[in-house]
């Protein structure tokens, strides 16, 4: 936690405790998966967002809904990085760890730098609970936490005490301890409380006792902060300068859902989602199922295959077909994606990637479906692939996927991941009138002339520019036709086994996808201002954008000459990418897989790149990327390095 000049009290509190100004803080809430840590983190995030801080969040939870209480596998956490300037990651290491039990402390302590703050619920530190995680003595008493600032707070018993006259069972009363923690942290960081109170009133509107318990616990946490002498100082983090506009906080899954709805609305198309629940994609289904007024139909299908089948059937009928899934589900959808490639119909497939192979790590992030997205089908089956780079960027990427699908009559894969899906950041709301509107341009009648001179409809007569075929939907007289997965004759669409025709059609489908209009990559290279080139280019795709950006900033601060660029489009790749790659002798490609993009780049452009890979189920830390950049940079001394910045500490 770096400190700047003390500032005046900003919050509503009249507390006597002095308030100190910070430029950034990383807090991690950790507890049992039943302790409500995700909700606590979400609320703290909402309070923080409303103050105008820039922020990034990282929820991290186990695949089990309720792993055995008090055990290491059951620990769930939520990390939040907020600042008075723009931040690009949820922070490598927490400045403050809130640990609700010994397991949470043990699982997370190693990430907290010495000197960091620990706020620990002491009530759960029984001999039994300590033993569950292998502590033979209590770390609160054996001196092992001496190098941290420890605040031992009996949060559970104080919560129970605050609710004593509500006639709740002890167990029910204990459930509100997360709100006590939230109240305490809200006080400590001078966050506004009205929103959380309003949230609790709405959420528990129909359960008065629960509402009261949560409100009281929240206020008790705040009041404890005000009355205890345990905290010598409170902190505030002023708003970050931001572009003018209206903002909200948004997770990647929400932004994806909103982007798809917005794109369908702007195109004037009904949106039909076929989906089968799968972590971490299900929230998109949940969100869209509540948007029926926006002409959104959601079909929870019997399996992944039926889900994409229903979506494709809807596209055949002139709706925008959509299916949402994660890696194992994408594997099941492969054959239907191939059919969509062959039928040349618009379809959007969202893959929220998670750790694989097989069931893998359902709640953890990875980027290992790139090859599956590009090549995971039989035959030559090209599909455009779009990858968002941040939670809010999921909105734009989803809109772009719809543009490509509708314009080029093709299935499009949107490759999100678990980190983007559950992570959040502030999002500047777009002006709806400025959002792009794809043109369905449905076929309305015959489009060609037959041998006898009569008007005919040819379902595979292509637009000369886009190579897109007509979107010819049932209910339109005069264009009745049959399509299928069998090879079709060019132009007429009749079944054809002709060798030359198949060769031509395979090449046409490839040419169509290759011709999808995508913008050139833009390289951020400070050396270019002086007409030169940086020593190292860091090239990423998808959710590594945040950590790479933080690492590049830090490396530059250390005097290294580093350029950065990021891919939104994995297929087709931007036209200038080959030239960009050939312009740098050292290219670093960080990926949360074992080098899938690197393989692609080498194969496509005959250039060498250096991979930097990890598949721990978590995003890169910027520190490990700085290390990789440093290792790749040329050995000659640059300007004197400066101290490590906050993001990499």
């Amino acid at each position: 936690m770096s400190t700047t000049t003390p500032g005046p009290t900003q919050g509503p509190s009249q507390s006597a405790t002095p308030i100190e100004r910070l430029d950034r803080v990383v807090i991690r809430f950790a507890g049992d998966s039943g302790d409500g840590m995700q909700l606590t983190g979400d609320r703290f995030t909402a309070e923080t967002a409303s103050l105008g801080n820039d922020l990034k969040t990282l929820p991290n939870f186990p695949a089990e809904i309720r792993a055995p209480a008090g055990t290491l596998p059951g620990v769930s956490s939520f990390q939040l990085h907020f600042a008075d300037h723009d931040v690009s990651t949820p922070g490598d290491a927490p400045d403050v760890l809130v640990a609700m039990n010994p397991a949470a402390l043990k699982a997370n302590l190693a990430d907290v730098p010495r000197g960091g703050t620990l706020i620990v619920d002491t009530d759960d530190f029984s001999r039994r609970n300590l033993a569950k995680v292998g502590y033979t003595t209590s770390p609160l008493e054996d001196g092992s936490l001496e190098s941290y600032q420890v605040h031992a707070v009996p949060m559970t018993s104080m919560t129970v005490e605050a609710l004593s006259d509500l006639q709740l069972s002890r167990k029910d009363a204990e459930r509100s301890k997360n709100m006590f923690a939230l109240g305490l942290l809200s006080w400590l960081y001078d966050r506004p409380t009205e929103q959380t109170e309003r949230f609790l009133r709405t959420k528990f509107a129909k359960r008065a006792a629960v509402m009261e318990a949560n409100l009281r616990a929240f206020r008790a946490g705040w009041a404890f902060g005000e009355t205890t002498e345990g905290f010598a100082v409170r902190y505030t983090v002023p708003a970050a300068p931001a572009e003018r506009g209206t903002y909200r906080n948004v997770t990647g899954n929400t932004a994806t859902a909103l982007g798809l709805v917005a794109a369908a609305h702007r195109a004037g198309l009904p949106l039909v989602l076929g989906s089968y629940p799968i972590t971490p994609a299900s929230d998109i289904l949940h969100t869209l199922s509540g948007l029926k007024r926006f002409d959104v139909t959601t079909i929870q299908a019997e399996d992944e295959i039926a889900a994409i089948g229903a979506a494709l059937g809807a596209s055949f009928g002139g709706s925008l077909g959509l299916t949402t899934t994660s890696g194992p589900g994408l594997a099941l959808k492969s054959e239907t994606i191939g059919l969509a490639v062959s039928l040349e119909l618009p379809l959007v497939i969202v893959d929220v990637q998670r750790g694989g192979p097989s069931t893998g790590l359902p709640t953890k992030t990875e980027q290992s479906d790139l090859m599956q997205a590009l090549y995971g089908r039989n035959g030559e089956s090209p599909v455009p692939v779009v990858a968002p780079s941040t939670p809010a960027d999921c909105f734009d990427a989803a809109m772009d996927a719809v543009r490509i699908a509708v314009t080029y009559r093709t299935p499009v894969l949107l490759l999100s991941d678990g980190y983007l899906a559950n992570g959040s950041e502030p999002w500047r709301l777009p002006d709806v009138a400025d959002l792009p509107a794809a043109d369905p341009d449905f076929a309305t009648g015959p489009n060609d002339t037959g041998a006898d001179g009569a008007p005919v409809f040819h379902p595979f007569l292509r637009d000369p520019e886009t190579l897109a075929r007509p979107w010819a939907v049932p209910g339109t007289a005069g264009i009745e036709h049959r399509v299928g997965g069998l090879e079709k004759a060019d132009v007429t669409g009749d079944i054809s086994y002709d060798p030359a025709n198949h060769d031509r059609m395979v090449r046409l489908r490839r040419a169509k996808v290759k011709g999808v209009e995508v913008p050139d990559v833009v390289v951020d290279d400070p050396a270019a201002l002086a007409g030169g080139r940086a020593d190292v280019l860091v090239l990423g795709w998808g959710s590594t954008f945040g950590p790479i950006t933080a690492a590049v900033r830090e490396a530059r601060r250390q005097g290294l000459s580093v350029a950065q660029t990021h891919l939104r489009h994995l297929n087709p790749l931007p036209a200038n990418l080959g030239d960009v790659l050939r312009g740098y002798s050292r290219v670093l490609v960080p990926e949360m897989n074992l080098g899938q993009l690197a393989l692609l780049l080498r194969g496509r452009y005959l250039v060498d790149v250096t991979s930097c890979n990890q598949v721990r189920g978590l995003p890169f830390t910027s520190a490990e990327l700085v290390e990789a950049i440093t290792a790749l940079a040329p050995a000659e001394p640059g300007p004197a390095p400066v101290a490590l910045s906050e993001e990499t500490r």
Binding site: R248, A262, A306, L429
Partner: protein
């Protein structure tokens, strides 16, 4: 905590036709069989039962009085799944087993189409079994023609999920070990609202069943016994022989007593002595036992299921006709109902302003 809500409409009120909402031809205009015949050359084997079904379908479609652009055939993979190519309507020859899923998406989003699924015993009951039962469970408004030839034809003669146990085929030289599905029993187990069986060789029966199926609102499953002259020739010969068929076919007519057989050897269907199910006895020996009167419309599918169990591999008694034609709200109508309700409750179709409000959500802040 889970909650459920009453879905309300349109579970009450008179059953609507399966064709309600599908644009009809203008008064006085009709189409002919030729109008529904595409210019694709039909390429089934000579003598295939599919020809007869195609002719019957091309012949009965004009009777529905629909515009042909509002008719869609969707098929999977297999010999019968080439069907859509030969009809001058909209069509999709999709992938193996998935036609009901694809049709579900189309039907849910397009109430103005009459949608048919064409499938076979392998396509529907093996690779696509899951989609078939779920379409019927949901009661999606579509008519499924299940061509049952009890063999894999397109892959050249392996046993299918309706082949009799012990069948010797290319892939089962020592006899197949699988027990066959009875497709009608399966459909009734999934509570399909319209279940029928007919024969490729009985044009009149086939046509009347298909018409009733198309007019039924909900999933209609029509099993069509169909001869494969190459790999399973004669599988249904006993049902086609004039004499034999009379002795074996139990013709189901709603509201009629179930009597069949040769004139000199009439048989009747009665309740089983055990109390469960039904059985066939000689009419002469029935004594005072009450002959079952067929009721296709009763909501309880138990009687229809019992009738479906009369059939076995020996084909001693084979019920044909409409086993069940019951009313239940369709999935697609309910889907659209929820959309309409949402629009109505929230002030009409969403505008750009509504979209802006949606994007903003509940918690925003402004930087000036």
């Amino acid at each position: 905590m889970t909650t459920s809500v009453p879905l309300g409409l349109p579970s009450v009120g008179a059953p609507r036709s399966g064709l309600a909402g599908v644009p009809a031809l203008p008064e006085g205009e009709t189409l002919s069989k030729r109008d529904f015949t595409s210019d694709s050359e039909v390429r089934w084997c000579p003598g295939c039962g599919d020809y007869a079904v195609l002719a019957a379908v091309q012949g009965f479609l004009p009777e529905l009085g629909l515009r042909k652009e509002n008719v869609v055939f969707i098929s999977g993979i297999g010999c019968s799944s080439r069907f859509p190519y030969y009809l001058d309507t909209f069509g999709m020859h999709s992938i193996h087993g998935r036609a009901p899923a694809i049709a579900t998406g189309l039907v849910a989003s397009r109430p103005d189409l009459s949608v048919f699924v064409v499938t076979g015993d392998g396509d529907a009951l093996s690779i696509g079994g899951n989609h078939l039962i779920h379409a019927m469970r949901r009661n999606v408004n579509m008519t499924i023609l299940l061509f049952n030839n009890r063999i894999y034809g397109l892959t050249k003669g392996q046993y299918s999920p309706t082949s009799e146990a012990g069948k010797v085929t290319k892939s089962t030289p020592a006899g197949s070990l699988d027990s066959p599905f009875n497709p009608v029993s399966l459909a009734l187990g999934a509570e399909a609202t319209f279940v029928a069986r007919t024969l490729d060789s009985d044009r009149k029966h086939l046509t009347s069943v298909l018409r009733a199926a198309a007019e039924h609102r909900g999933t209609s499953l029509v099993e069509i016994y169909q001869n494969c002259p190459i790999f399973n020739d004669g599988a249904f010969d006993v049902l086609k022989d004039r004499d034999e068929s009379q002795a074996r076919l139990v013709r189901l007519e709603h509201g009629e007593e179930l009597r069949f057989g040769r004139e000199d050897a009439e048989k009747v269907v009665v309740r089983s002595a055990s109390g469960f199910g039904v059985e066939v006895v000689d009419a002469a020996a029935a004594g005072g036992r009450e002959v079952v009167v067929h009721d296709a419309t009763t909501p309880d599918p138990s009687l229809a299921f019992a009738l479906s169990r009369l059939d076995d591999v020996s084909m001693a008694h084979v019920p044909v006709g409409i086993f069940r034609s019951a009313h239940r709200p369709t999935y697609d109508d309910l889907v659209r109902e929820q959309l309409d309700d949402a629009r109505e409750a929230q002030g009409g179709p969403a505008t750009d302003a509504d979209l802006a409000a949606l994007l903003a959500g509940g918690d925003t802040w402004t930087v000036r």
